[in-house]
Amino acid sequence: VSVAEVIFSGTMLAQTVRMAIPYACAATGGVLCERSGVVNIALEGTLLASALAAIATHAATGSATAGLVAGVACGAAIGAVHATLVVRGRVDAIVSGLAINLAAAGGTRFLLRALYGSSSNSPSVAAFRFLPDASALVRAVLDPFFVLGAIAALGSAWLLARTRFGLRLRACGEDPSAAQAVGVRVDVTRTAAVCLGSAVCGLGGTALAYDLHQFQAGMSGGRGFIALAAVIVSGWRPWAAASACLAFAALDALEIVLQGHTHVPAQLFAILPFVATLVALALFSRRRSAHRPPAGLGKHPE
């Protein structure tokens, strides 16, 4: 089988869709946070912590659905912490995000040892079982996480563009002082936006963990940061951000499907998404009218 055949195969497409789900969920969550004016680099830690929450709950209750709920709830809870620190405590959002990432990285390892006595991974869980006989592509598209992720992306786009809450959210992100002056409760709106966004990110973390049927220490592997970059290069638009994630996921998928087909060292493939992110940032960061950050990003109402 030639390399080109592998790249243009259905397996590659299916892998891309599968790998894109955690990215796209984190990016959608990131758009919701940032459009409300709160920078969220805690997406990385949110992915990680919700992955463990989902697996631990699944393992304890035996129910994959309960695990999913726990993963999403864990995301929302981390969002609540971030929002409390940033919106109410007026802590710099980057400092808060760094602290959450640090605590999530250490905390998940701590819990892994406390719960399962292992420093690397949890025991395996069943996750969702569906259509065991269908082809990889059909399975990828009918995957519950693909469906839920698509609903989240679609719903977020609709929420931002078409609802009263979305309008307020964007107002807080563009000019918090003006929003407050016309009676929008900036702190409440932002807290809701960050919790909601982090919950969607938690869905991504759950997808990540269920995909491997277990939790592994450090399994988020920089996906939260790449998702944040996707938010930036896509100009803070939900659909564009989710689509940008497909491109990054394709690079991940490449690593998987090309394993054994080339002599390129695995480390080169592993750094490909990060190099691609740097290149994308270099190309798309220049501020154009359609691609500018929310004007009130990181600002508090006077």
Partner: protein, 338 residues
């Protein structure tokens, strides 16, 4: 001072809660923690050893923060710096004297760290790419590339470089203070303290230093004053990278005598915590480095009873507590927080 007290109180509270939840007694664990760190000369030496790279990366992050930049890339800058330090240190002619070997090896480390920081600096001033994202990406790229490079320069069958030449070893503190026997603390700690004093004095006493501080407060006003803001921002990030790379003085030259994959990992992120706690003063930075060094060494001392990752959680708690106390202080003084 108030922020430090808050941070320590929050850390203590989190420590008690987590240790208790794990099913151990907080009091006896605290005794263990003290005994394993400041309780003996060896433990104290190990704290100094752990604090050394943290202090270097702490100064590095602080310097960038002065100009309003978050250098989250200290981790990657240290990784490539350590690799360069190990390779250059080993390739020097065997008889190279101390005064030549150490500066050359550390110079290579600083150069590599600076080069690694140059990419985000360029992206920042040329296209306005936020340094937080680009430095994080550079960390990951460093991870992969150091792994690739080590395969080519390592001794066969290992993930370590050959030993550095005899002249490139930084003397251990035990050579001066015999009581430190067995601990890996080296003169690199003294150099790090000197660096902290030099850099923080430079903030006040040099023109570039003062400009950096003012750029961090209000870049637009500085641009209006004809200060080359972009140039200064790029310089701050590059020098920050060089300082982070120089942390290999304590790990490669002061401890192992060679570079192996993963040596010094975590010191870059630890440096962020040190800088946020120590903010701009030499005493603050040294104190913060000692605090987090104590936590790291204490984590090892407790590892048989409680997972040492507990200490990473505490680091996060400390950062939050300090930042909260800081923000409250600013609010009550009525400063704008935007």
């Amino acid at each position: 001072v108030k922020a430090t007290v808050t941070a320590l109180a929050a850390a203590w509270l989190a420590f008690c809660l987590l240790v208790f939840a794990y099913g151990e007694s907080p009091a006896s664990m605290a005794v263990q923690l003290f005994a394993g760190t400041w309780g003996t000369w060896y433990g104290a030496g190990q704290v100094l050893f752990k604090a050394t790279p943290l202090l270097f990366t702490g100064i590095a992050v602080d310097l960038a923060l002065r100009a309003g930049l978050f250098n989250i890339g200290a981790e990657g800058q240290l990784a490539v710096g350590s690799l360069a330090c190990g390779v250059v240190g080993a390739r020097l002619p065997p008889g190279t004297p101390f005064v030549v070997a150490v500066p050359l090896a550390i110079g290579a480390a600083a150069l590599a760290g600076a080069a690694w920081a140059f990419v985000p600096a360029l992206l920042k001033v040329r296209v306005g790419a936020h340094e937080v994202i680009s430095t994080i990406m550079m960390n990951r790229v460093a991870d992969g590339l150091v792994g690739l490079a080590i395969a080519n320069v390592a001794l066969t069958g290992t993930v370590r470089t050959p030993d550095v030449v005899a002249g490139a070893h930084v003397p251990r503190l035990e050579a001066l203070v015999p009581a430190f026997r067995g601990s890996a603390a080296s003169l690199a700690f003294v150099v790090a303290v000197l660096a902290a004093v030099l850099v923080t004095e430079g903030y006040r006493r040099t023109r570039v230093g003062r400009e950096l501080g003012l750029i961090g407060l209000n870049a637009r006003a500085m641009a209006a004053e004809k200060v080359p803001v972009e140039r200064r921002v790029a310089q701050a990030l590059v020098v920050s990278g060089a300082l982070a790379g120089a942390a290999s003085l304590g790990t490669v030259l002061g401890y192992k005598g060679y570079f192996e994959e993963g040596l010094g990992a975590g010191a870059g992120f630890g440096g962020l915590a040190v800088a946020l706690l120590g903010r701009g003063s030499a005493a603050g930075l040294v104190g913060a480095a000692l605090l987090f060094g104590t936590l790291q060494q204490g984590g090892l001392a407790l590892n048989a009873f409680v997972p040492r990752e507990l200490m990473e959680v505490l680091e996060g708690v400390v950062i939050c507590a300090v930042a909260l106390a800081d923000a409250r202080g600013r609010l009550s003084r009525g400063e704008k927080t935007a």
